[in-house]
């Protein structure tokens, strides 16, 4: 059974109920409870100190930046903040957990009762409730790579890196919506600047709770936790598979067992894992090395005031400017791109024409060259691209010439005006000059003229091309068309 077939099996008879638990690594320079750097990819066990190695006698000290970031994320998710939030210890033994416990927030998380709005698969705006958002520290990593046979290496560089965990209510109703929610969450976090949110590098990790219930039922079915989904696509695929598996089981009269299942990306299935978590009693209790927080009203309000424009507000603003939902979506999903666009707007670019120039022409060329919009190798500044758009808008150059000019701007870093002036690319809108070229083209290609007059409309295209060639593309295309038609009619 494929995931696609499965979706059909579920549709109409069962409702899929999904809640997501998302872990996000915060982009702080240092770890949650010590001063060690958080850089990704350093040689094993080089970013460690007595605290994150859990040497006897070492003590945790909370990272203010991490708390600020977690607060930003909480406020951007419209959560209620608990100023007296508290740290707890989650106890379990594992080689990559050096203290034998993880410092987390259990009974009093930083934030509760938020929501995230996103555009669902059916095009409708949907709101998913956020149950809680709390701070915690990451574990180290166990590795078998490069280790002598049968042994495990432990790298504690990641131990103590700050994380937030964002737990949604079971408000999602399809695997595709789960993916869209996750992507919207990613975008929101990018906006707040608190994380790189890269699923591939593990700075965004997602577990899902999924259950089925008969359509129209109010009661929830038995919950299955799905883990090990490493991309947005695999989240959707894994959940489609899992929903279908549960539907088939229910159809066969089986009971769904509450369990944890792992997604196998290669085989495209989930499989039951008797994981350590299931049998575990974490023996949570308040972390005695850290007192309760006392986040002041002033601090919370300062963080709130420092939030940038968030994706929902930006989408609304772009819609009001007349951008299509698609264009607005493309921009908003990519904060550096949207920032670029906003600078174009500030420099006087027309929104709809500007977005085409940006997303089709500039971005197309940058993508081909493998250069990001925020890369200094992108030599066209937003203000310069806005100027280019204004030259087109004013009729100074044609849209076609604009592409040539853009190429030149990318190569030289020059302004549009400079390129246009140096290469004499101003559009010819002088009727006399164009009429002369038209006459010459008609005279030079009598057969084409005759074909056109005989009703072969495509001959016109050839003649337009000849005129454009003669004017090095500078002739105003609509004038060329008009004058050619006139000339051929007269002749």
């Amino acid at each position: 059974m494929s995931a696609g077939e499965g979706a059909a099996a579920v549709a109409g008879r069962y409702e899929t109920v999904i809640g997501l638990e998302v872990h996000v690594e915060l982009a702080t320079k240092s770890k949650m409870f010590c001063g060690c750097p958080t850089d990704f990819g350093a040689p094993p066990n080089t970013q460690v100190c007595p605290v994150c190695l859990a040497l006897p006698g070492a003590l945790p000290v909370p990272n203010e930046q991490a708390i600020t970031y977690a607060l930003r994320a909480s406020l951007s998710l419209e959560c209620r903040i608990d100023p007296g939030c508290r740290w707890d210890r989650k106890n379990y033994h594992y080689p990559d957990l050096p203290k034998g416990y993880q410092i987390t927030q259990y009974a009093r998380p930083l934030a509760r009762e938020g929501c995230l709005r996103f555009t669902a698969a059916d095009g409708q705006e949907r709101s998913v409730r956020i149950r809680r958002l709390h701070m915690e520290e990451d574990t180290g990593k166990s590795t078998h790579e490069g280790m002598p046979g049968g042994t495990t290496g432990v790298d504690l560089n990641r131990a103590g890196v700050p994380l937030i965990e964002i737990v949604s209510e079971p408000d999602l109703r399809s695997p595709e919506d789960a993916r869209l929610y996750l992507q919207a969450l990613r975008t929101l976090l990018l906006y707040t600047g608190v994380s790189d949110v890269r699923m591939e590098e593990g700075s965004l990790r997602c577990d899902a709770n999924v259950s089925l219930r008969p359509e129209g039922s109010e009661e929830f079915g038995a919950l299955v936790e799905v883990k090990n989904m490493n991309s947005f696509r695999s989240v959707q695929r894994a959940l489609e598979y899992e929903a279908a598996r549960q539907a088939a089981a229910l159809d066969a009269g089986e009971r769904i067992v509450r369990e944890t299942r792992h997604w196998d990306e290669r085989r495209g299935i989930t499989f039951s894992s008797r994981s350590k978590e299931e049998a575990h009693d974490y023996r949570y209790f308040p972390e005695p090395d850290l007192g309760p927080s006392a986040l002041s009203e002033g601090f919370i309000e300062a963080v709130r005031a420092g939030l940038p424009e968030l994706p929902a507000a930006r989408l609304a603003r772009y819609a009001a400017l007349g951008l299509t939902p698609y264009d607005a979506g493309v921009l908003v999903a990519d904060p550096p791109l949207a920032d670029y666009f906003d600078r174009m707007l500030a420099a006087g670019a027309a929104p709809r024409e500007g977005v085409a120039l940006l997303t089709v022409e500039l971005l197309g060329r940058l993508n081909a060259a493998g250069v990001a919009i925020s890369d200094p190798r992108c030599r066209v500044r937003p203000e310069q691209l806005a100027d280019l758009q204004r030259l087109v808008g004013a009729g100074t150059i044609s849209g076609k010439v604009a592409k040539t000019v853009l190429e030149e701007m990318l190569a030289s870093g020059e302004d549009a005006q400079t390129v246009v002036a140096r290469q004499g690319l101003q559009q010819i809108s002088d009727t006399g000059a164009i009429a002369k070229a038209v006459a010459e083209a008609v005279a030079a290609h009598p057969q084409s003229a005759a074909d056109y007059r005989a009703g072969k409309r495509q001959a016109l295209g050839f003649l337009v091309g000849q005129v454009m060639k003669a004017t090095r593309g500078k002739a105003n295309p609509s004038l060329v068309n008009q004058l050619l038609e006139d000339a051929l009619r007269e002749g």
Partner: protein, 491 residues
Amino acid sequence: MWDWPAHRIHRALAAGEVSAVEVATAVLDRCDAAEGLIGAYVHRRERAEVLADAAAVDEALRRREPLQPLGGVPVAIKDNLSTTGMPTTCGSRILAGYVPPYDAAVVERLVGQGAVALGKTNMDEFAMGSSTEHSATGPTRNPWDLERVPGGSSGGSAAAVAAGTATLALGSDTGGSIRQPAAFCGVVGLKPTYGRVSRYGLVAYASSLDQVGPLCRDVRDAALVLGAIAGGDRRDATAHPGALPDYESALRPDCRGLRLGVPREFLAEGVAPEVRAAVAAAVDLLGELGAEVEECSLPTVSYALDAYYVIAPAEASSNLARYDGVRYGLRAGGGGDYAGVFARTRGEGFGPEVRRRIMLGTYALSAGYYDQYYGKAQRARTLLCREFDAALARYDALVTPTTPTPAFGLREKTADPLQMYMSDVCTVPVNLVGLPALSLPCGFVSGLPVGLQLIGRAFDEETVLRIGYAYEQAADLGRRRPPVAAMGAGA
């Protein structure tokens, strides 16, 4: 010279009457003579190293650099305080051979003031015990009677000060581990307010109760050491950052204007009549010194020991989870998987009392038992705090015995943990409420010292030091030396 208090050494050094090398030599000689009988140390530094440190103090004096209050004073350090040049084993096999790569904050501060470290003192394993018999290296003996225990867990520190094998010593106090051995060995011990002294580098037993403090010859020395080690530390989130008073200048020879409460629960049955009598005499003397003395009541104190033996083991079960054989200390041989090596390492590495408390604490935190045990104990702790707050709103300090009996015999209580725990019945409540308390000698019963405990308001160590000093001056017990002091005492 080996029996001089630190302030006398300071005066003599400042006046040029003796050199730091002479002082160190006297104490080292004393160590050589008495250590074989007492066994206070688990690690002694080489004579040459100690003398080199002392010579550096003399050299600084010759350069006319100012002499710090503890400059040139020979000190002993409890083996649960991290020290770079010396092993830190906490009296446990599991940390055999572990030499920390960093110094505890208190060690840094003492050594930074020019104190001369002699070595590490014996203790009950991980500070769990009241007799220093639960040590992987064997017991320490009481200088007043070699067949008796010195108390614990800072028994090595107390015995060293009493026997003259250190001028003063650092200890730690979780349920009485400074005060009870101070009482048993006839020295002065101070447990500062929780948060007054940084715990950074103190190997944790029960983090919400642990506090570092001095064991000294007299109250003035306790004031000097507190001044040297107290104060905020950005590496310990529970260390109080406020400004420090000058503790020495708080010392006065009278108790005029002070109101003292004598809580009757601390004199209930179980307290030896001779101890009761000694405390009653001390209370009378405090009255003569100008204090207004009144009997009072703290009814919840009778639940303190029960609450302590839930909370302390609960925290310990988590704090000691890091000893897994992966990063430092003992690793059991025989190979196998993590769980196997982990279990064998801990089975071989921890002694019976530590294992008992880990099991107790793990149980108390388990799902289904948390509310019944840990939750209830915390509620008792809250009530106890309220009672002490109310009492200390009325009184400047509370006066109690430090222990219900004088030092008991070696092996007398090892077979009966509950009897052993009872030895801390007067000290444990103070840790639960986090207040400062001073223990000082107040008489003798059958040749064994009896301790008087003074409990003060939070962060008001000055008052208990002042009362203790006034009492000490008036009672004049200071000249009495333990019989072992006669041994090897040529000077």
